[in-house]
């Protein structure tokens, strides 16, 4: 493949990456409003209509699991997860005055961080997949909504896959294309 073809592939990949991110953010906004509504209805049912609403608690909990992991996946798109830039300060002091070397070392460190993330997410995807298969086999259902426990539990599996995709895109798509298309 020549350089132009590679650039086109990278652009297409970035477009797909952005599309997934956009869908994630819309779903996240819907989930936040849904959570507010469910929890508020819960208070109303209990104190205004005197009707117990355990189903609302369960629905809120399940939505929350999806919200957290989907939020984590969307945060991976822009590499927004909490990290500590201690090494930047240390390197700045160690490599005083040599800007080129500083940037090179820092880039290598950042690449290592992304590769470690990809490796771990792949491991988690496999390990959690095995666990989820066991849950599906057992066929456990939730107490109040009567849905299979696989529904909330699969949030971790699906979102790990999405995070993995975002992280791979972050590693392989050149920065100028990420900025241009993202």
């Amino acid at each position: 493949m020549n350089k132009n073809n590679l650039l086109n592939v990278a652009k297409m990949l970035m477009k797909l990456n952005k599309l997934i991110y956009t869908i994630e953010t819309y779903l996240l906004a819907i989930m936040v409003y849904a959570l507010v509504a469910v929890l508020f209805i819960n208070v109303l049912f209990r104190f205004v209509f005197f009707i117990p609403s355990a189903w609302a608690d369960e629905l809120a909990r399940f939505t929350f699991v999806w919200l957290v992991f989907l939020g984590a996946s969307a945060a991976m798109y822009n590499w927004q997860h909490i990290d500590i830039n201690l090494i930047d300060t240390i390197l700045k002091k160690l490599i005083k005055g040599n800007e080129i070397l500083y940037n090179k070392v820092l880039n290598a460190v950042k690449k290592f961080a992304v590769i470690s993330t990809i490796a771990y997410l792949t491991y988690l995807f496999v390990v959690y997949g095995q666990y989820l298969r066991k849950v599906i086999k057992l066929g456990t259902q939730s107490m109040f909504l009567g849905v299979g426990m696989v529904v909330p539990m699969s949030a971790i599996y699906v979102c790990t896959a999405l995070m993995l995709f975002h992280a791979v895109c972050y590693l392989i798509i050149p920065e100028h294309i990420r900025k241009q298309e993202g």
Binding site: F64, I82, V127
Partner: protein, 432 residues
């Protein structure tokens, strides 16, 4: 103990030296510890899910979202004007406004970084115009910003409650005393420091009737912000709703306020802006709460390997004085707090440090107050203080320049840590 060393070694090594995201470093550390002990990985997967399948954590996105909505309603501007009206005549009043507004804004957001950014954006330019140096503004903002963690609702408070199994509402109350002490002592520091900057102001004399009228008008425009804590705390402590539901109620209240603003004042807040606020809240939740999920996996392996029990036995055998143990805890927290994010530090350290504290007869709620105060002050302690980094971004001044002005605030903060540690009554008088 090898399990603990493997986990902590990998976590700190990857996180601090190689910039691996904290959540991934935690996951790698936990996975390695599981593998070392030969425990089934299904335990790890189960722990990841179980931690989030709980109602108390749900309060986090709710309060973040409520804060974002109120910000859209320009409530922080109104709050600042209100505080300025009442204390604007005192010497160093703009500095005082920053401190009081940070504490008040904490009630809405519960986050130090959000407070520094929101208050700094509004107060920063006025402080500069009135002759305050940029480095002092940065120091003042960084120091006042963490008052948002002390004054409930506080997100780190929810994290502590989750890590310790205590009631969120009690953990929240435990830091109010310390928070107020911070407000008073920081105001005194500001009073003595600002003489260099503040020029003598022309005080506008108001007749009593005009004063009352202006006070009422200012209060009226700030009313939505004043009512919010009344709803939250009135609801929680009268037993009408849980802290999580209080979060949802404050979101509904905030949305109602925004809709009224659109109708009455023809404000330009659009559905798109509200959508963006929800997305921002969800992203913050994703990056913060996912830490709890992975910390639970780490906690599971530490418990299964018997580390907590061994550590408690080791500490209680060697230290029989709770005050000496608390001194040790303070040193660990202050050190870790300089480079580790508050929530992350709570989730890793509390399961390890709390069991020995319980065995030594220390009240877990008191321990919670010590934890929150210490880790908040960690935001201020160089060389890696997050609060100073944030303030330097907001004000546009270097980290080193802020550090040169932060020492008086830091000394006061260390003094308050000692008071909180050795006078449990300050944290427990509203709880026990």
């Amino acid at each position: 103990m090898t399990t603990l060393l493997i986990f902590l070694g990998l976590f700190f090594g990857l996180c601090l030296l190689l910039r691996v995201p904290a959540v991934i470093a935690m996951g790698i550390g936990a996975a390695a510890a599981f593998a070392y002990n030969g425990f089934p990985t299904s335990q790890m997967s189960q722990a990841l899910y179980n931690q989030l399948d709980s109602l108390p954590f749900l309060a986090i996105p709710m309060f973040i979202f409520a804060g974002a909505i109120m910000e859209q309603g320009q409530i922080s501007d109104a709050l600042i004007k209100w505080i300025q009206f009442f204390i604007g005549r005192f010497r160093g009043s703009l500095g005082l406004v920053t401190i009081f507004a940070s504490a008040a804004f904490g009630v809405i957001t519960g986050s130090a970084m959000a407070t520094i950014s929101a208050i700094g954006r509004i107060v920063g330019p006025s402080l500069e115009k009135n002759g305050y140096s940029k480095s002092y503004i940065g120091a003042l903002l960084a120091s006042s910003g963490f008052l948002g963690i002390m004054i409930p609702p506080s997100i780190p408070g929810i994290m502590f409650a989750s890590a310790s199994g205590e009631k969120t509402s009690e953990v929240w109350i435990s830091t109010i005393g310390a928070g107020l002490l911070f407000v008073v002592l920081f105001s005194i520091v500001n009073y003595f420091k600002v003489g260099r900057f503040e020029t003598k102001k022309e005080v506008q004399r108001l007749t009593p009737s005009k004063y009352v009228r202006t006070a009422l008008v200012t209060t009226w425009s700030t009313l939505p912000a004043i009512i919010m804590p009344i709803i939250i705390f009135g609801g929680i402590y009268s037993g009408v709703f849980t802290p999580t539901e209080a979060g949802a109620v404050s979101c509904v209240y905030g949305l109602a306020y925004i809709i009224l603003r659109i109708i009455i004042r023809r404000s330009n807040t659009t559905a798109k802006v509200l959508m963006q606020s929800a997305i921002a809240a969800a992203l913050s939740t994703g990056t913060v709460v996912i830490l709890a999920s992975f910390a639970n996996a780490a906690g599971r392996v530490i418990t299964l390997a018997g580390v907590s029990t061994a550590m408690t036995q080791f500490i209680t055998t060697n230290i029989d004085n709770p005050y000496i143990y608390l001194l040790l805890v303070n040193i660990i927290y202050l050190f870790v707090g300089t480079f580790l994010e508050v929530n992350c530090a709570i989730l890793i350290l509390v399961p390890l440090l709390l069991p020995p504290a319980r065995a030594l007869g220390i009240d877990p709620i008191h321990f919670g107050a010590i934890t929150l105060v210490n880790l908040s002050v960690g935001n201020l302690t160089p060389p890696f203080a997050q609060g100073i980094f944030m303030a330097s971004k907001v004000v546009g001044v270097s980290f080193v320049e802020i550090v040169s002005e932060i020492w008086p605030f830091l000394i006061v903060a260390l003094l308050i840590i000692a008071v909180v540690t050795y006078f449990p009554l300050l944290s427990l008088f509203l709880v026990r």
